[in-house]
Symmetry: C2
Subunit: 323 residues, 2 copies
Amino acid sequence: MSDAKDKSAGWVTFDPNLKILDCTVRDGGLCNNHQFGEGFFRRIYDTCVAGGIDYMEVGYKADKALFAGKGFGPWKYCDEEDIRREVGDNETGLKLSVMADTGRTNPSDLLPRSESVIDLVRVATYIHQIPAALELVQDAKQKGYEVALNLMAVSTVPDYELDNGLDAISHVDEVDFLYVVDSFGSLYYEQVGDLIERYKKTGKTLGIHAHNNQQLAYANTIYAAINGVKLLDTTMMGMGRGAGNCATELLVGFLKNPKFTLRPILQFVQDTMFPLSQQIDWGYSIPYMITGHYNEHPRSAIKLRDGERKDDYVGFYDEIANP
Amino acid sequence: MSDAKDKSAGWVTFDPNLKILDCTVRDGGLCNNHQFGEGFFRRIYDTCVAGGIDYMEVGYKADKALFAGKGFGPWKYCDEEDIRREVGDNETGLKLSVMADTGRTNPSDLLPRSESVIDLVRVATYIHQIPAALELVQDAKQKGYEVALNLMAVSTVPDYELDNGLDAISHVDEVDFLYVVDSFGSLYYEQVGDLIERYKKTGKTLGIHAHNNQQLAYANTIYAAINGVKLLDTTMMGMGRGAGNCATELLVGFLKNPKFTLRPILQFVQDTMFPLSQQIDWGYSIPYMITGHYNEHPRSAIKLRDGERKDDYVGFYDEIANP
């Protein structure tokens, strides 16, 4: 592992080992129950290929026994035939990932990698689910995948509990990548730096997944990259649950490595994401700022933004600050 | 002066010596030629008082010989009687500031402080104007004001030229506060940190004025505060030229010092700024991101956002990247 700050930013912007994972379809899909319009998937896939993105996350690998019949689109489940209908055998340099939520995934839905176009399985877990998550990790690894572990909502986890969890993770060789996840968008750079230092002790290659509640998703992602984190999650125009994520176009515009190309990404954002942003509410707004500052799950702010009181900042603040 | 990082952020959030300067009327006024609606000034003044803001900037002290008859509102000039009509003798804890642009200010327009409700004069200067700016500084100081020097557009100034300018400033005792100004919104935290270190060598108390082209205005302002900068510029809902500034509500929500109160600020933002934001275009958008990444003045992006091509990101990118 690299040290806390082993490279100047000038160097990091050129680092070919930095990888971008665009998870628009997965995290953005939380804004529309993964019901994207005709052609959306193919256009974002082509854009990721043209833009030099390293990984594209195609959705969740959710258990149909839990979710079927509730109105979710295909990227909630990521059936192999649905992915192949869009990407064929994916004969490109773009790798594909799926997210497997601990407790919501049936391991038998995961084919052997030799039969799948998926390259990377990202297991998402809360701290108390780590043992179950590590079983998913081991299953995915045995099937031949690259495997990431995304530890969610750490901003509410006591230090000793986090360190115990990280210690357990450090002993599991099947974890290729470990993610710092700012689920509530509540962290600023010093807190991100503290987590990076703790996570580095596991010896794993690190990733970061940030949320934009305080307009810090891009700032925290840059900070993480400069301080040794190698996998950087983004979404097109920041589309993601609630306040959304680090925008792909912001990060690609910042990084100077010639493997990334901004223009096709801007074209997709202009033609597809901007019109979508006029129909669906995502991205920074003051209710998300409030839940971020209070280190709370954004669900109350999402509910507010979905209704007629969406810009009642004071009413919402009173509910959160004086519950 | 304090060291590069003399306090943990935990401490900084409580630091009573951190001061917020709300410059909505001045920088936000660049979006509407300083023509705010009836009652706006009084409402934001009352809000700053209720919110515990330290300074409110009431506008520019521009020379009428240069600007009169061109459609600017009163806060382009900040005549004493106009300010007093709004604030009387300002018998509150809120201090008032004006900005004096070097080359656009007639020193004879500046009353002795004993005859004015203004407390702080902020002299804005480009690097090549420093000698003229220091004359304005000395005039204002002799008249009894606190004086700040805001050195603009430093992201385009060669290092040796900047260090020469800072050396000149360090010898002028009349400069109370020296501002790190990110005019183009092009800086990220390592660059802000480098400027802070250089500016500290002058021995002055430092301020920061950030722009939000890359969604970094708040991030850079927090970073500066944690690294020893004491005066923090903000605007309500981030209203300011182009991509705007660090939002007052974001910074007040972050800081834990009880002298600041978020609720009246949210009330003002909800009742007054949000409706205004539906009428006037300001704040982060992709054209501003592009000029920020290219370290260019935002004027081309402002022009674009003012016309029918406002969301033609690719066309604008082609103009900036391949001029």
